[in-house]
């Protein structure tokens, strides 16, 4: 693989501006340089074949049909130095502690609003605030047991937090599968460098969930609640249920008894369920409380949860902190609840509810990224530098009509990692989604899922919009062989 002409317009994760590999990636880049084009191509074919065989797919609804599409996998891993990762991990742990304290406060005393650190109006207009959760005390005071935070690296080489997914973050199965593929394709590298393992995640998740059981001392009955085969993340649901050895259930498999306990229907009769890792949105969880026509959840589930008879992860209502406006206040939350400075910087955000900031946003639409507060999947946003006049006019109207629903951020020049192309390595923009588990302790995945925009120049990494994935290596340089 020929690196001589490889240049990136942004900060590149593997190759420094002078064309030399970064220290953590040195081993990998030199190894790849020794491979012929044919070697590289055949390994890429092998990698895709392994990925297809193991059934790594996500489901896309198009042309009125559901299609299982393989997630594009690129051969070249993204490499992070362990020393940097240790700092990032500490920042992520700090973040999730503050976020959980915030959610607990929102549904409890609401001190942070009374102390005017965060404006109370935020709550009044939050689409993810659930009044049904007020006063509930979930086990360990934790609401967001599983968090997927998106990190991006800007031109200055620093990692920034872009958003925290606290509702039902997905993608961890791709992280695990990508590693399996990489090990099969680059066994030599795994022998010679110290690449930290990622495969303890399912066990860690199991223990996080088990700690929530309302019947401590007994082996907990844990289930994963899926919306079913037509959900885009169904592959992940089956993958995690299998990896943890727990039952994969659908809403119709569950019912809540007169004793407020939750049961699943088995061939032996009803069996009590202690913990539900739910991958169904809040509003579909319980037709008794939320959408009355939802068949994805179970009638009475909220009653059971409020009575403390079943644990839900993530807790209903945790999404109140998964809002791009709330995001802007995370550094203040860290200061308020923990008395610490944020270790991991936020991507700077302009709040459209603030008169001055809104004026700035409207005047600089061509330079900013404008995002709706509660969309995910990269939908409904405006990327200023690539927008048309017409699109900017449309967003101007949207922001003025509903300022609470929009934030703006400077357009970051997301860092790049090379991907394999027929014309040699070529830079593509990436982000990084580590997963953070909160239970009796906090666990962060080693690295995370690197999502990559497969189209040249594109900044959109979402799988639903043509993004792919890479393996992510955290390499210990001190321990190199």
């Amino acid at each position: 693989m020929d690196w001589t002409n490889y240049r990136s317009v942004a900060f590149d994760e593997l190759i420094a501006a002078d064309g030399r590999p970064r220290p953590a990636a040195g081993h990998l880049v030199r190894y790849l340089a020794k491979l012929s084009d044919r070697d590289v191509a055949s390994r890429q074919v092998a990698a895709s074949a392994i990925a297809r065989m193991s059934g790594i797919t996500f489901t896309v609804y198009s042309d009125g049909r559901n299609v299982d599409r393989p997630l594009p996998f690129d051969l070249i891993p993204r490499v992070l130095a362990r020393s940097e990762w240790v700092r990032t991990e500490a920042g992520l742990k700090q973040r999730i502690r503050a976020l959980n304290m915030f959610i607990d406060d929102v549904y409890g005393e609401q001190r942070i609003f009374k102390d005017k650190v965060v404006p109370a109006s935020l709550l009044a207009n939050s689409v993810n605030f659930r009044k049904e959760c007020v006063g509930v005390k979930p086990p360990l005071g934790i609401w967001a047991h599983v968090c997927g935070s998106d990190l991006v690296r800007d031109a200055d080489g620093k990692l920034y937090a872009l958003e925290d997914n606290l509702r039902i973050p997905s993608g961890v199965s791709y992280m695990l599968e990508n590693r399996i593929v990489a090990k099969r394709v680059f066994p030599e590298l795994f022998e010679t460098c110290t690449i930290l393992p990622v495969d303890e995640y399912p066990m860690q998740l199991y223990e996080t969930l088990a700690a929530l059981s309302p019947r401590p001392g007994e082996t907990p009955v844990i289930v994963l609640l899926t919306p079913g085969v037509f959900n885009s993340a169904y592959f992940e649901h089956t993958y995690l249920a299998q990896a943890m050895g727990i039952e994969l259930v659908e809403g119709t498999d569950l019912f809540v008894g007169d004793d407020d306990c939750t049961y699943m229907r088995t061939v032996y009769g009803p069996r009590r369920v202690d913990v539900i890792y739910r991958r169904v949105d809040d509003l579909f969880l319980d037709p008794e409380v939320f959408k009355p026509d939802s068949a994805l959840g179970a009638r009475g589930l909220m009653r059971s949860w409020r009575a403390g008879k079943v644990a839900l992860a993530n807790a209903p209502g945790a999404g109140v902190a998964d809002d791009k406006v709330v995001f802007a206040y995370v550094p203040k939350m860290i200061e308020y609840y923990l008395g610490e400075d944020a270790l991991l910087p936020n991507v700077p955000s302009y709040l459209c509810t603030d008169d001055d900031e809104r004026r700035y946003v409207l005047d600089h639409l061509a330079d900013l990224v404008v995002k709706p507060a509660n969309e995910s999947g990269g939908y409904g946003m405006l990327i200023g530098p690539r927008s048309t006049k017409k699109q900017r006019a449309k967003f101007k109207k949207l922001v003025v009509a509903d300022p609470r629903n929009y934030i703006a951020q400077p357009t970051l020049s997301l860092s790049t990692v090379p991907i394999v192309t027929p014309r040699g390595p070529s830079p593509r923009h990436v982000d990084l989604r580590p997963f953070i588990l909160s239970g009796s302790s906090i666990y962060v995945t080693t690295g995370g899922l690197t999502r990559v925009a497969m189209k040249r120049g594109s900044l959109v990494v979402n799988s639903s919009q043509g993004g792919g994935a890479k393996d992510t290596w955290v390499v210990d340089l001190e321990d190199a062989v």
């Binding site: 079913g228 085969v229 299998q242 119709t252 008894g257 049961y263 699943m264 061939v267 032996y268 009803p270």
Partner: protein, 328 residues
């Protein structure tokens, strides 16, 4: 084991077995047709009647004067998506059943079923022509046998496996009675009186080969094929895996390892009695059809008891605690 998963495993096994039997039946009919002299007419109608889609067939071909061609009938039996007994419908239903329980079974199963599904969807018009028919039938039968093989060779003998076995046993018992029914009600219609005896036995031969039983029959019965012997073999043989008795006693063995449901045991016991006490000679002398109907009704009641006992869990918590052992 979740009731939903058990139910899907059970139906998956049933539809796979139904597909295989249906393919064999159509294949044998096709072959039989070629063996008949001009004076003897082959009748598709009994096959259509026996799988319970006569009324639908009539709506497809309402004009009594315009006799449907051989290819019309094939397309109806094999590929018609609106025909709940067609091969394609059975394969697609098996695939839908499997979709949500994929994670509980070996992944190759999904590949085999998807392959069958694609195959039947691909080039339908070419498939039903007489020249390609043998290929079509053998490809379907092979696919079904591959599924059965994968299941017996790689699936853990847990409660899920027992539900699949139960489904297979009930479906095979049902299909065996239906194929007997089709044979007995006259797949061939000789125009001359002297042909009657010869071709009646020929159709019993066809029934045996539809159930892959011809060779075993010859080895075990060592008599020329007659209605009485064929019927005794297919209903009451202890060792042949597609005899009704064999299927029912396998179901009984499966039930012994499953959570007890008295209603299911009662129904099954009654069926075993009816099969064991049947008199093949007397049945052949009149017409076995009404007896076969009776067995089918009882099998359907057995299915009803299985569904009520295992698949629809009553939301009663008090009784739940007692009947809920640690394993699920």
């Amino acid at each position: 084991m979740l009731s939903r998963v058990a139910e899907n495993l059970y139906w998956f096994a049933r539809y796979v077995r139904r597909t295989e039997n249906m393919a064999r039946l159509v294949g044998v009919g096709s072959q039989l047709q070629l063996d008949l002299p001009r004076s003897v007419k082959f009748m598709w109608q009994p096959m259509i009647d026996t799988v319970g889609v006569a009324a639908l067939f009539k709506t497809r071909f309402p004009d009594a004067a315009a006799v449907p061609t051989d290819v019309d009938v094939m397309r109806f039996l094999l590929l018609d998506e609106g025909n709940p007994s067609s091969l394609r419908h059975s394969v697609d239903t098996a695939r839908e059943m499997l979709r949500s329980i994929r994670d509980t079974l070996p992944p190759q199963l999904w590949e085999v079923v998807t392959d069958l599904h694609m195959f039947l969807g691909e080039d339908a018009d070419r498939l039903v022509t007489r020249r390609n028919r043998v290929d079509l039938i053998s490809r379907i039968v092979d696919g079904c046998l591959k599924i059965s093989g994968l299941v017996t060779a790689t699936v853990s003998r847990d409660i899920g496996f027992q539900f699949m076995q139960l489904g297979t046993a009930i479906e095979q018992a049902d299909m065996t009675t239906r194929i007997i029914d089709a044979g007995a009600s006259g797949l061939v219609a000789p125009r001359k009186e002297e042909d009657r005896e010869t071709f009646r036995n020929l159709q019993w031969m066809a029934v045996l080969s539809s159930l892959a039983a011809d060779q075993t029959y010859r080895r075990h019965v060592r008599q020329r094929v007659t209605g009485e012997h064929a019927l005794r073999f297919l209903l009451q043989d202890y060792d042949f895996p597609r005899s009704v008795h064999f299927c029912l006693s396998r179901a009984q063995r499966m039930l012994a390892a499953m959570p007890p449901r008295p209603e299911v045991e009662k129904r099954l016991g009654k069926l075993v009695d009816a099969i064991q006490t049947a008199d093949p000679a007397a049945l052949v002398a009149k017409n076995p059809a009404s007896f076969m109907d009776e067995i089918q009704v009882q099998l359907s009641a057995l299915h009803g008891a299985v569904a009520a006992g295992y698949f629809s869990v009553v939301e009663q918590v008090a009784s739940a605690q007692q009947q809920s052992p640690a394993a699920a």
